[in-house]
């Protein structure tokens, strides 16, 4: 058992502000990512409350039309680019080097650079509100609406938006390079690729997606910037450009981006489910291949966002979109059969993981419905799509993130979070989430389009919108026990010790929090569950017992 002289609550971890600002330690940087992401989660959430407040009743009560367009544009922008993607990168930053037994990431200074670009980009986006209006063409920013010419075109705000997103994209790409080199080159002796924890695998595939896809949206944004500011002719038909070209380039990134947003969260729950069922992940290899398949297929489906443009070869994109359901289903069954036959402890991390399973199931199913092109003709650009995207991103990613938070908070801080507050948060969040987004299926089917500031009461959409707003307030309420829990636990939570959950992977083989260099001593690595093996070496396994000791002889180099 690895122990160090470091006591969890010791002043050694009460680093100064200067330490935090100049750190290159992946653990501190990971925590910075998490904190920054939560700040923007709350800002994005406030914007969402603005949307729900306005839509609760027919009639424009609170904001003007253009302001409403700004609100939902920035809601999505903050949530996608400054909350989900960096939050998962932050958890990856903290956890991956620990899980592979490395002392840090491959490029610690670039790691710090990647982080600090994010608050800068966030400030630029916040500034855009006071420069005559933020971006207001949707987070998708289609041309020609996003150009400088159309009626009501936004000024500097849209350009700040472009610059901020290019900054964030660069941060992501540098992060991806860092993760990939770390995972390929810095694994501890004995950790072959197929002994890496699943969380690490999902971060690996995610990093490949980020590396290959993000630069493409950078190019689209830059071309948009040139159109807007230098008289360019890429996307404006009035200038000889092609509006559909923008959509193709944009979605070529933005579809893989949704897997960037969900795969690490899937990795997180794939760590939680085995630990709280006391069994290994069912079908580890299949899971790895399914993740890789989703990543690869994810590059082929982009035009399913463009079925109604009349400019897309429909059968191909429909086919590959349906195909993606197969590896996703494989994963779903892997998760369920991890639970099956296990001995489940319903702690907060497991509750959030179970919430993920149920909600992502719905999100996957309503997405598959949209894959049918004629059906998509009816439901595209309606509230059905809003339901789908929130079921996968909130029901999926956010629930996964919450599970990961409760699971790894003890490792990061040395303190346990309160289980009761966690369960209250879970119930409020689960109920609130479904109240908000389930009615949107019906609203979309009934014909309510997206991105409208108001609707007529003659349409019959009043009650479901009011219900969704009530749900929204419930979600907001669920943030209170979360915040309370975090602050109270930081100060006086129960000391966690090295391994409060009987974990499987290497992060539980060191103190909580770990020392700056992570490990004093690594257990032998002979399977994907080295800490489990050390604890229960003599347990019978079916199908895949721990493998041979592949520890290479490292020349004495100290």
């Amino acid at each position: 058992m690895a122990t160090t002289a470091l006591h969890p609550a010791a002043p050694a971890y009460r680093s100064s502000l200067y330490d935090w600002v100049t750190t290159t330690d992946h653990k501190k940087i990971g925590i910075l990512y998490v904190i920054n992401s939560f700040v923007f989660f709350f800002i994005g959430g406030l914007l969402a409350m603005g949307v729900r407040l306005e839509l609760a009743q027919p009639g424009l009560q609170f904001v003007a039309d253009q302001t409403y367009n700004e609100i939902f544009t920035m809601h999505a922008t903050f949530m996608i680019f400054l909350f989900v993607i960096p939050m998962l990168a932050g958890f990856g930053n903290y956890i991956v080097p620990l899980q592979i037994g490395a002392p840090d990431m491959a490029f610690p200074r670039i790691n710090a650079l990647s982080f600090w670009m994010l608050p800068l980009a966030g400030i630029l986006l916040l500034l855009s509100f006071v420069t005559g209006g933020s971006a207001a063409a949707g987070w998708t920013s289609y041309s020609p609406l996003a150009q400088d010419r159309p009626l009501g075109a936004v000024g500097p705000g849209q350009d700040l938006w472009v610059v901020a997103l290019v900054l964030i994209g660069t941060s992501s790409i540098l992060g991806a390079v860092n993760f990939l080199v770390t995972m390929f080159k810095m694994r501890a002796p004995g950790m072959t690729l197929f002994r890496m924890p699943i969380m690490t695998w999902t971060v690996l595939v995610t990093s490949v997606l980020v590396l290959l896809a993000t630069p493409v949206i950078t190019s689209a944004l830059i071309m948009l910037f040139i159109d807007r500011n230098y008289g360019g002719s890429f996307f404006d038909p009035a200038n000889g450009g092609d509006a559909i070209l923008y959509q193709n380039i944009f979605w070529f990134y933005s579809h893989p981006a949704v897997y960037v947003m969900v795969l690490p969260a899937m990795g997180m729950i794939s760590e939680i489910l085995p630990v709280f069922s006391r069994k290994p992940l069912f079908g580890y290899r299949a899971f790895v291949f399914a993740t890789a398949a989703i990543g690869a297929l994810g590059f082929s489906v982009w035009a399913h966002h463009m079925f109604t443009t009349g400019a897309v070869y429909l059968p191909f994109f429909s086919f590959v979109t349906f195909l993606i359901a197969i590896p996703t289903g494989v994963k779903m069954f892997n998760w369920i059969f991890t639970l099956w036959g296990g001995k489940l402890t319903l702690s907060t991390p497991l509750l959030f993981a179970l919430g993920f399973l149920s909600m992502f199931l719905i999100g996957g199913i309503n997405g598959a419905v949209s894959a049918s092109v004629p059906v998509d003709f009816a439901i595209h650009d309606t509230y059905w799509v809003v339901a789908h995207l929130h079921y996968v991103l909130f029901g999926g990613s956010v629930f996964g993130i919450m599970g990961g938070l409760y699971y790894w908070f003890p490792k990061m801080t040395g303190r346990m979070m309160s289980e009761s507050l966690g369960k209250v948060q879970f119930v409020l969040m689960f109920v609130g989430f479904n109240l908000t987004f389930f009615p949107m299926h019906q609203l979309g089917l009934a014909g309510m389009p997206r991105r409208i500031a108001d609707y007529s009461s003659a349409s019959g959409w009043n009650d479901l919108n009011l219900l969704a707003t009530i749900g929204g307030f419930t979600i907001a309420a669920s943030m209170l026990p979360l915040l309370w829990n975090v602050f109270v636990s930081l100060r006086s939570g129960e000391p966690a010790g090295d391994d409060p959950w009987e974990g499987n992977t290497l992060e539980w083989a060191t103190s909580s929090p770990p020392p700056p260099y992570n490990f004093d001593h690594l257990p032998p690595i002979r399977s994907e569950r080295p800490v489990f093996d050390q604890r229960h070496g003599d347990v019978p396994h079916t199908k895949t017992p721990p493998g041979p000791d592949r520890t290479q002889q490292i020349p004495a180099g100290r």
Partner: protein, 219 residues
Amino acid sequence: MTTDTTALTTEHSPVAGLAHDARGGISNPVLGMLLFITSEVMFFAGLFAAYFNVRANAAQWPPINPESGEAFHIAIFPLVGPATVLLILSSFTCQFAVWAIRRNDRTAFLRNIAVTFGIGVVFLIMQGIDYAELGREGLTLSSGTYGTTYFTLTGFHGAHVFAGVIMLGVVLYRGMAGQFSARHHDAVEAASLYWHFVDVVWILLFSLLYLLPGNAPRV
């Protein structure tokens, strides 16, 4: 195991003493640069995709300049053609520099890196002069699809050349300060990979923009 935990930073950890390629294979910085170059390839892919789309949908390429009534025209001589030759040459000198430092020949390494750096600077200057000339002839970023794609593609290539020149400058500086040896020169390898990438992109660009024939006007 020391009990003074504050001294156990990454540099002093038990694994820090390992040489770079303890398990063989490429070093971290070189792998990192290769991956970064992959992302840069994808960035140019987006720009190229736009270019191909624009060009395929155009009635005529190069299109007619509305101000002059004639088709746009970009010339290989006197600037762009020679600049291309120089850039290709610089890839050779860059590789010579890498081979030199691998066999610990610091003099040859420095000489070749300096020449590569110099050619990079000259390329940028020639590009700048060419832009000014084109501007005088009436071809700018806002000259319809032709001008937009031309300046965007070559402009971002130029920006990457600029970054490469800075990288080479840093390598030259560090080389002159004696920081590189046969055993320890990851930065040189990484910078040379980037420089080759910049050159390959230019060869592609040059071929597409200057060598690939346009189509006759469609009636």
